[in-house]
Symmetry: D2
Subunit: 437 residues, 4 copies
C-alpha cells in the first residue's frame, strides 16, 4: 500500500504544482484568503469530504488581529473577481476563512493534519530571474506574496485529500484536514483549536517547508524545538495635541509615553528559566513637527521559550505599557493581535513517523536528531496543545529543500520537489495510523 | 494723498478678494508654489516692476527642507495644468519659487515689504458651512490648504504693487516687494535674505492676518514679541534589521536609539535666561512586528526666546541625537529643515507707523501696546536681521480680524475686510517713507 | 526718634556681632536648633517679651522634612552640652524649634518680623584664612554651618528686640518677632504660618543678607521677585533584591523605576505661562554590583514662577513617579519634605519702607528698582501669604554687603557691617508703623 | 596509600578546623588579606615548600579592583596587630596577596590546586545562635566576613600541603598550591594566571563548599556548568554642578547621563546564542536636592554564558555608557574592576576524579551527573583557561554540605565535616596523578 501511495503522489505531482502556483498567483493575506478558502472548500467537497467552514469551525471571539471592515469588503470583491467560489465565499467572508474537511470511515482513531493558507504583506519581486515571474505565477495582488511556502502547504493538503479519498477503503477511523487562515502573526489557530473540532483527535501533525541545512541532505526533521510562545500586542497611546511652542503644557504627549514604554519594555529583566524576547517592531506617532503628538501606535511582541516564560514577559510588558501612560497622563489601548503557546512535539509521535519512513518509505531521508530549532513561533501550538489536553499526541515537522531566498523575503521561492515528499509522507502517516489493528 | 491711497485700496478691494480666492483654490505647499509664484511674477511684470525670480534672488544652498525631486516634478505638471505662467514657471521650478518686484524711482530710501505665499499640508474641510466651499474657492489640491492666511498676504502684495504703481510719481526711492516661498517650517526666508537683495534696504516690514483678541477691536498691532528663534531638524537613525526572535543580536535597533533620543531631548535642562522649547513632532520607525527596526525617522524642532537660547537648545539636542546613535551603534543622519532667528522689531519703525496711522489713517485702530506675542516663529526674522545688520530698521505687524477657526486648522477662514486694512496701511507706509524730504 | 534708633543700633552693634558669632559657632541644622531657639526664647523673655514656643506657635502636622528620632535625641544632648537653656529646650525639643516674642503696647497695628535661625548641612572650611576660624567662631558642629547668614538674621532679631523694648513707650500696637526654624529646604514656615499667630498681623517683613551687585553700592532692595514656588519630595522605590545572574526575574528592580522616573521627570513639558524647574538632586540605590537593587531613594524638587506653575509641575511629577513604579512593579513612597508658595511683595509696603529710608535714614542707600531677583525659594512666602489673606501687607528685603563666598559654600562669610543696617532699618520700620496717628 | 591519606586527613581534621576558625575570625577582604597571606606563606615555608609571593607570582598590571592606598595602609597596620607574619607581610602588602607553594619531586606531571582566601564586605551577624559567635570565632573585623567559605578553602589548602609533604616520597612530579586573593568580584585570578606559573601545569583543579541539593546526599560534584563569563565595570560620570533653580543651564547633569545609561544598558538585546546578563547594582549621585548632580557613580556587571557572549555584552555596554556621556556632555570614566572567562571543565579530568573516588575513596558519594550549575562566575576560569591553552586539563568541583544560610548572607556558616572531604579528595587526586607509571 505504501507503494501505491507513492505512485499516487507522483501521479498527482504536476497537479500539486499547478495548484500551488495558482494559490501563489492569487496570494491572499491573513483573514482575506477568501478565494483560497472557498476553492479549498469546493475541492474538498468534490472529493467527498464533509466540509465545515467559517463559523462552523471557528470561535468568533478568539480570532485575533482582524483587518478593517473596509479591507474585508475590498478583498471580498477582489476574491470574487479572481475566481472565488460564489457559494463558499459567503461562508468565509468577514474573517471566517477556516475550512475543515472530514472523512469518517468507521471505527478507529481520529487523525488531523493542519495546512496554513495565508500569504504575507510583501510585494513580490518582479525581476527577470525570479522564478514565479518567469513562469507566470507571480503574485498579481500587490502587497501580498506567498513568501513562506503556505501556497505549497495548501496544495499538499488538497493532494493528500485526493490520495486519502482514493485509498479510503483501507482507512478505519476519521481524517480531519484543517486549512487554517492567518498563521502569520499567529492569529488564526486559536479560534479553530478552541472550536471543539479537535477534541476527539488522537493524532495531529503539520509540516513546514524549510531550508536544507548546509552539508546535510535530510528530507525531513520529525519535530521542532526552540519554538517560542508569543503574544502580539498593538498598543496605542492617546494624548492631546497642542502647539509645541505656544502652549506645550496643554498637550498630553503620547510620544513621551511611547518612548518611555519602548525603553522600559526592552529593559524587562532576562529570566534564568529560559529564553525570552521582546520587540517593538513599529511605531507611528505624531502629525507635524510643531505639534505635541496626540497619538502613538506601536506593534509589539513578546516571546518566551515556554508558555510560562511568555506569560512572564506579557505580564511585565503590560505593567510597563500602563505605567508609561500614567506617567504622561495619556490613555492607553492594548489590543491582543496574536498569541501562541510554546510547542511541544511528542516523542512517541516522532518515533512512529521515523518508523514509517524507515520501514516503508526507504528513499525519504530522516534526520538523526528528533528535534531541530524553529527559532520562531507557530500557532499550530494551540492545536497540538488542545489535542494533548485531550490525551492525543502530535508533532510539527520540517520538510527540507533548497530555498532561493529566506522566508519573508520578496525573492523567496522553493524547489517544488518538496511537495512530493510532503504528499507522500503525510498520506503514509495517515494510512499507517488508520490501518492498524 | 493718503485719501487717494484709501480710495484706490477700496476700489481694488474686490480684485484683492478675487486674487486671494484664486490663490486659495490653487493652494500650493512650500517650494511647490509654482503656479502662485509664476502668476505673481507675471502680474508684477505687467505692472511695470522689474521682476527678479528664483536663482536671481535666492541663494541655492540656503534653501531648507526641500521636497523630493518626484514631488517637484509632479507639482510642476500640476501647476501648468492649473494655469501657471509658462514663462516664469521655468524660472521658479525645482524649488526656486521666490519672486521680487522692484520699482526704482530716483534717489531716496529703499523700502521692502515681505509677503509669504505658501500653503500648509492640510486637506481643506469640505463641510457645507465652510465658506470657501460655499463660495467655490475651496482648495482643489488635496493635502494643500491656505490655513494660515498667506493667500491673503499674497493678494495684498499684488494690490499694494498696483497702488504704488499708480502713485509712482510721488515716490522718491525704491520699492522691493518680496514674495517668499516656504515660510511654513521656516525654510524659505534665509535663501532670500542672504542673496544680497536686502543689503541696501532701509525699511522693511511684513504683516500677518491674526485673530482679534476678545474684547478688543484693534485693527493693527505694530510689532510682535515672544518670537522664537527655532531650528527644525529631520533625524534618521539607520540600523540593521534582523528577526527579533531568531537573532536579535544581529540587529542594530534604530528605534532604541530613537526612543532614547526622544526622552533625553525632552530632558534638556530649562534655561534661566528665557523660554526654550523642544518637540519631537513625529516618528516613523520599523517595518514589521517581528523585525528589529532598521530605520527611525523623527521630525524635531527646538526653539528659544532669543537666538542664543535657540543655539543652546540646538547644540544640546545635537549631542543627544548623536549620543543616542552611539549607544546602539546606529548611524544618524541630521538634516536641517528650517531655521529662524528670534525677531526684533524696531521701536523707531513702530513709532513711525503709529504716527502714520494716527495722523493720516484715522479709522485704523492701532493697539496701545507696541508689542503683542507671536508665540511662535517666522523666518521673516532672517530678513529683518539682515536689514538691521546693514543699518536699516523694520517691524512685523499683526492685522487683526475675526477668524473662523484657528490657524493650521482645516476649517480656517478669515474675514476678508482685513485685506483692505492691509493694502491701505502697507501702501501708506511706503508712501510716507518715500515721500519724505 | 530715628536718630535714637540709629544710636542704639550702633551702641549694640558689638553685641549683635558677638551674638551672631556665638550662633555661628554652635551652628544647628533645621529642626535641630535647640540651643539657638532656647537661648532666643530666654533672651526675649528677659527683655520683657511674652514668649511663645514650640507647639504654642506651630501646627505639628504642617512641619515638613523632620530628621529622625535618633538625630533629634543626639542633638538634644549636644545642645544641652553646648549651653542650651534647660527650661526652654524642653519646649523646643522633638522638632518644635519655633519661637515668637510678642510685645503688646495698647491699641494699634500689629507688625511682624521673621528671622530664620537654621544652619546648613555643610562642614565649615578650616583653612587658615577663613575668618570664622581666625577669629575663633568656626562651627564646632561638624556637618553644620551657617553658610547662608541666618546666624546674622537671628542676631539682628535679638538686637531689634532690645531696641524696640527700649523705645516701647513710643510704640502703639503690637510687635511679633518670629524666629523660624528649618527655612533651608522650606520646611519650617508653614507650621508657624498656619498656627494662627499671623492672623491679626497688618504688616510683615523679613530680610536676607545678600551679595552686593558689582558696580552698585545699595544697602537695601525693598522686595524680591523671581521667587519660585516649590515642592520638595523624597521618593523611595521599594523593590525586591535578587541575584542578578542566578535569578534576575525574581527581583523587582527599584533602580529601573528610578532611572525611568528621572528621565521622565526632566521631560515634563515646559509651560508657556512661565518658568518651571525640576531637579533630581540625589539618588542612592542598590547594595552590591551583582544584586538587583531593592531600594532607590531620590531627593527631588519642582519649582514654578507662580504657585500655579509649581502645582502644574508637582501634579505631573507625581504621575511620573507613580507610573515608574507601576512599570517595574515596585512600591513607591512619596514624602513631602518642604513646600513654599511663590512670594508676592506688596508695592505699598515697599513704598512705605522707601519713604522711611529716604526721609529718616539718610545714609541707607535704597535701590532704585523696587524688586530684585531671588532666583530661588523662601518659605517666608507662607507667612506673607497668610498675612495678605487676612488683609495685611508685607515684603521681603535684601540687605546687601560683600560676601566672601557664595551662600551654601563652605567658605561663606559676610561683612558684619550689614548687621547694623539691618537692626537700624528693621527697628525704624517698626517704629514708623507703630507711631502713626 | 589512599587509606594513609584518609587517616592523615582525619588526624589533621581538628587542626584544619582551628585554622579555618582563625582565618574566619580575622576575615580580610580582597587585596587586604595580608594577615592571611603572610601566615599561609610562613606555614608553607615551614612545611618545606618553595614559597613564591606577591610580585613573584602576580602580574601587577592585571590586578583589578584594588582598594585605595589609604585602605591598604590601614589594613597593613591592622594585619600586623592581628598577628601577620612580619617577614611575608612586606612582600604581600600593597595589593600583592597571592601566595604559591611549590614542591618539586623529580620527573613527572605538574599538578596545581587553587584555594581562594578573601572574605566579603559584610558585617557578621552577632546574634546569640550564630555558631561563629557562640564558638568565639566571629569576625572581629567589622565589614569583613567569610560568608562564602573561603576560610575553609584556605584551611583545606594548608592541610593538603601538610599531607602531601608527609607522602612526598610517593609523589613523582610537581605540586603547586595556589592561594589566590580577591576572588570575590573576580579580581585576583588574572594576575596570577598570566604570571607564567601555570604555563607548565598539566592538571589543575579547585573546589568550592556548596549547599547540598535537597533530597540528595552527594559529597561531591565533579564539575560546574552555567558558569558565566563576566566583566565588572565601575562607571563614573563627571558633570558640572549648578543651582538647579538659579541657573540649571550651567550644569552638566551627571545623573541624566546615568539614568539614560541604566535604562539603555538593560535594553541591550537578548542574544540567541545563549544567556546574557546585565546589572547596574548600585548608584550614588548628587550632593543636594537643589543642585544639579555633578557626579554619578555606578557599579555595573555584564555576563554571558560564554566568553563570546560576555564580550557581546561588554562591547555593547561600553557603547551605551559612552553614548550617555555624549548626550549630556559629561565626561565618563570606566574602570574594569573584575573579569572572568566562562569556565570549561574537562570531561577527562572529571572521569579521572570519578575513578579515584569510586575505586579508592569508597565512602565519598559522587554525583551521577558530571556537571552541576554554578549560576555565577569564578575567576578560576582564568587559571583553567591558561592551563588548557598549554595543553593541560582541569575542573572545578563542588564539595556539598549543609549550609546554615545562603552564601553572602551575614548568618552564613557551614558544617565543618566538609573540610575532611576536601582534604581527603584533594590529596588523593594529587597522589593519583603523581604516582602513575
Amino acid at each position: 500500500m505504501y507503494n501505491k501511495i507513492k505512485l499516487l503522489a507522483q501521479q498527482y505531482h504536476q497537479e500539486t504544482i499547478q495548484t500551488r502556483r495558482d494559490f501563489h498567483k492569487y496570494a491572499e493575506r491573513g483573514w482575506l484568503e477568501m478565494r483560497t478558502a472557498s476553492l479549498v472548500a469546493r475541492r474538498l467537497d468534490s472529493l467527498g469530504y464533509q466540509v465545515s467552514v467559517g463559523k462552523e469551525v471557528m470561535r468568533e471571539e478568539f480570532r485575533m488581529g482582524l483587518p478593517s471592515k473596509r479591507l474585508l469588503t475590498l478583498n471580498y470583491n477582489r476574491a470574487l473577481l479572481q475566481g472565488a467560489d460564489p457559494y463558499y465565499i459567503e461562508k468565509v467572508k468577514n474573517g471566517f476563512t477556516g475550512v475543515v474537511g472530514v472523512m469518517h470511515n468507521g471505527i478507529g482513531p481520529v487523525v488531523a493534519i493542519r495546512f496554513d493558507i495565508d500569504a504575507l504583506s510583501i510585494t513580490e519581486d518582479d525581476s527577470a530571474d525570479h522564478n514565479p515571474g518567469k513562469n507566470g505565477f507571480i503574485s498579481c495582488n500587490p502587497g501580498a506574496m506567498h513568501a513562506c511556502g503556505h501556497d505549497g502547504h495548501t496544495a499538499m493538503g488538497l493532494t493528500v485529500a485526493k490520495i486519502l479519498a482514493q485509498i479510503k477503503e483501507q482507512l478505519h477511523g476519521t481524517i480531519k484536514l484543517i486549512f487554517q487562515p492567518a498563521e502569520e502573526g499567529v492569529r488564526g489557530a486559536k479560534s479553530i483549536a478552541l472550536s471543539g473540532i479537535l477534541d476527539d483527535v488522537d493524532y495531529i501533525f503539520a509540516g513546514h517547508i524549510w531550508q536544507q541545512v548546509e552539508g546535510e541532505d535530510y528530507d525531513i526533521y520529525l519535530g521542532m524545538n526552540e519554538t517560542f510562545a508569543t503574544t502580539k500586542l498593538d498598543v496605542t497611546y492617546h494624548g492631546v495635541s497642542s502647539h509645541a511652542a505656544g502652549m506645550p503644557q496643554f498637550g498630553k504627549n503620547a510620544l513621551l509615553s511611547a518612548a518611555s514604554c519602548i525603553l522600559n519594555l526592552h529593559s524587562i529583566p532576562r529570566n534564568s528559566d529560559g529564553c525570552t524576547r521582546i520587540n517593538v517592531g513599529t511605531i507611528r506617532a505624531g502629525t507635524g513637527r510643531n505639534v505635541v503628538p496626540e497619538t502613538a501606535k506601536l506593534e509589539i511582541e513578546v516571546r518566551g521559550a515556554t508558555t510560562e516564560l511568555n506569560n512572564y514577559m506579557e505580564v511585565y510588558a503590560r505593567d510597563v505599557i500602563r505605567g508609561a501612560a500614567l506617567m504622561h497622563d495619556t490613555i492607553v489601548e492594548i489590543n491582543e493581535m496574536g498569541k501562541a503557546y510554546s510547542l511541544d512535539c511528542d516523542k512517541k509521535m516522532m518515533d512512529l513517523i521515523r518508523h514509517i519512513c524507515i520501514d516503508h518509505l526507504g528513499d525519504i531521508k530522516v534526520a538523526k536528531e528528533d528535534l531541530s530549532p524553529l527559532d520562531g513561533s507557530d500557532d499550530f501550538s494551540y492545536m497540538i496543545a488542545t489535542v494533548q489536553a485531550h490525551g492525543g499526541i502530535g508533532t510539527y515537522m520540517k520538510l527540507t529543500t533548497d530555498l532561493v531566498a529566506s522566508p519573508h523575503n520578496c525573492t523567496y521561492d522553493f524547489n517544488e520537489d518538496v511537495l512530493l515528499t510532503g504528499t507522500t509522507v503525510y498520506s503514509s502517516i495517515a494510512y499507517y495510523l488508520l490501518n492498524q489493528d
